[in-house]
Symmetry: C3
Subunit: 343 residues, 3 copies
């Protein structure tokens, strides 16, 4: 399937400069693009790549439109334009409605007739799955869980019992939704388990990465609001709430009962302690531990800078004596003041 720039602009907007009959069939990076491929420039920093690209056409912002003589689509947001064009050129394989003969479907399950259920899938009693959803091989959906419409579970996803997964959700392989939160109480030298009777509730348009875990609530629910995007290997503990449209990079850990606002962006391997509250539009750097609530939007960091090991060793040893250093500076200031007075 290939399209002229004219056809693309008719569908997605923007305007064309150069040969509007140029035909493209795939998206690519400026660096690797070949003939019949369309690349994009979303960051003027890479403008130089426009000169050497072998793309047949490019998507650029107005401010970069004059920087190339290639046929180009000029638009306000080249990156989202590219996202939409790529989705159009690379549709997901058509779903194959029907339930594989090997799948095990529980009693009272309500599965829309156009749902695709793959081989070795376990669907518990009372589960409901909405129209157009695809449950791929080896997934397990626990009793009484509800899955919305047009949702896709990649192979080997597990959703425990009594959870809710919304519409247009994508969950990647190995993710586990609704496992017990980590609730224990010490009594007489041993831990008692606190039953985890809340649910995990996943909103609409959420994407959950491979091997990410979202625990069910202890008493109340764990809630992932609409439009949240979670990368791989994220751990979301019980009773966390993640606000709509927040995006979280890989390996982040969020402890129990933390509340994260809307439109936050959290960098990889960051951590958020329990029972905290993070405002809307907060950006947290990678590798940063948030140990108290954040009330104002902004960018927050706490990263120990790396250096060559010898240099790190030489400097880091003083971290255990910072309080002493601060006291000595104060003392020096006092003594110097007194010396100056004596003159």
């Amino acid at each position: 399937m290939s399209y002229t720039l004219t056809e693309i602009v008719a569908r997605f907007g923007g305007h064309i400069e150069g040969d509007a009959s140029t035909v493209v069939s795939q998206v690519a990076t400026l660096e690797k693009a070949a003939i019949r491929q369309i690349a994009f420039l979303s960051n003027s920093k890479y403008r130089k790549q426009l000169e050497s690209t072998h793309a047949s056409a490019v998507i650029v912002a107005k401010s970069d439109a004059a920087a190339t003589s290639l046929p180009r689509i000029v638009c306000s947001n080249p990156y989202s334009y590219f996202a939409k064009l790529s989705a159009f050129l690379n549709p997901l394989p058509l779903s194959k409605p029907g339930i594989h003969a090997s799948a095990v479907i529980g009693e009272g399950a309500k599965i829309s007739p156009d749902v695709q259920i793959g081989e070795f899938v376990s669907i518990g009693d009372g589960v409901s799955i909405g129209s157009g959803s695809v449950i791929m091989a080896g997934c397990s959906v626990g009793t009484n869980t509800t899955i919305g419409v047009n949702t896709r579970l990649y192979p080997r996803v597990v959703v425990y019992h009594d959870c809710i997964v919304g519409n247009n959700v994508i969950i990647h392989s190995g993710a586990v939704i609704g496992a017990d939160g980590f609730g224990i109480a010490m009594e007489e030298g041993a831990w008692l388990k606190i039953p985890q009777i809340g649910r995990a509730i996943i909103g609409n348009d959420v994407e959950i990465g491979a091997n990410t875990t979202i625990d069910r609530g202890a008493l109340d629910d764990t809630v992932i609001e609409d439009g949240v995007k979670l990368d791989n290997q994220i751990q979301v503990a019980h009773n966390v709430r993640i606000g709509a449209h927040t995006a979280i990079a890989g390996c982040v850990g969020i402890a129990g009962s933390a509340t994260i606002g809307r439109y936050c962006r959290i960098g990889g391997s960051a951590g958020i302690l329990g029972h905290l509250s993070i405002a809307d539009e907060v950006e947290i750097s990678a590798f940063t531990l948030i140990g108290k609530s954040i009330r104002e939007k902004g960018v927050y960091s706490g990263i120990y800078p790396f250096s060559e090991k010898d240099s790190w060793l030489k400097n880091a040893v003083h971290l255990r004596h910072l309080d002493d250093m601060a006291a000595r500076i104060k003392q020096l200031e006092k003594e110097l003041e007194s010396l100056k007075g004596r003159d």
Copy 2:
């Protein structure tokens, strides 16, 4: 199923203040509790919530008993009381003894007749599974592994060959027990694999969270002692030993041959380097790397504090010059001393 406070106290102890005939059927938080629900107060900090709760009854410590006029159970440890009451009100679904027709059972496997084995389960040759255990859909248990009594494997757990899992163990979905440890030796420019011929041994009353990994030993065994509680996405490397009743939060990494004591508590995303030894009753803060052995019980931390990014940048730049700062303070002290002497 609902119970009067009288019935509850008869079973779990404590004493009642207020209407002993009050009936409850479920536990809840003070904040969300509704009629016929019983809430608890384990931290006097939240005592204010007693005033606004809609719970029918509450569980409180003696010191908080006068802070509410609600029907209440007064006991010494409201949190563990609540844990036991919740477990009583929320029993696990009854197991359904029997082996699903789709399960594959190896030769010589000894499976107690009341074990429940779900669909798509693989049980290797020579496996032994004790009475009352439940192996849920899609689990894989390797050859010659032994699983004790009343143990539950949630869907898609993998236990490799020759491992031992104790009694009353809970393992959540996606956990992998007994995979090869990371053992490699460099020879002539390439890594040779060191066969991992030890086992992973899991004691009794252990809980293992979703997507946690516990590697088998290289030569000797990896050992998780009785009563250990592990949250999600923890990595336990080969030949680690974790002492009884230690609790570890999510995303912690423990490197090879580390030995951790009994009754330790380790915060989320902490790390422990290899070949270290941690004493009993050590508490390690979240996000802290333990790089040498800890001989004394106590609380240990090493967290870089976060701040607004601009402030962090301005301050962090000096970390690479701390040694120079320390030298300059020393020099200032010396010169000041010499100036004072001259007066």
Copy 3:
């Protein structure tokens, strides 16, 4: 199966000191070795264990050969010698060629006749699997993916569509290869998904640990070169390239488009930000975030040292005032200089 030292040396080289007819059947640690077991000493630091070991023989370097009177094999690299001997004494179970009756094989799949495919395995359309490979229970291999020869997928591995896995690769349970990278573009208050149309390409002789995730590329490919060794729970984002023979410990996160050199060694829970380049032979300490490119080989660290919590608190508070401390030292130096001038 047991062997004399003579037989072992005939196969693996080295020379014997002491009784060459000594028979051994298994490897062990110096500490735990029993009769008919052979131990090794690769680090002279543990030379004392030679005195107390119950091993029947030991593998030592020339420099340690005189430190024991036990029958011994003397060689240049005792650790790699041990690795090879252990692999010889502990061969993997013989594969059982054939496809389990329950496995689902897609149309046009080309599976070499001596491949072993276990129960509940899903093989997509157009998949190719080379001679001698073993695909264990419950694995899922997506359409058009190619797997080389003598490769082993442990139970419940998922490889998405259109990926390439090389020869002699080992992938442990729960690993997910080729899931979508984390690509999103903001438009009008919501995230658009960027289709991930690149592949994940795994070279030869790679080992991938349990629950490790390697995302497919966004447009170009994610590439793991030959001989790379990855421990458990590592996250490799889209378009990362890891150079040949690099070894990475557990829980490391590597962000998108990072390029890592050959023969690097990366410690546990380290992180590498996106779009960086790391030279060959770089060693990165555990728990260190690499936030800019590294051009020179060497060892790099950035770890906040732990201490008792009270001490940590007292010292860490000054980290938010380092810039002020630096300014005050400068001011003190200036004033002192001026005082000295006045004398």
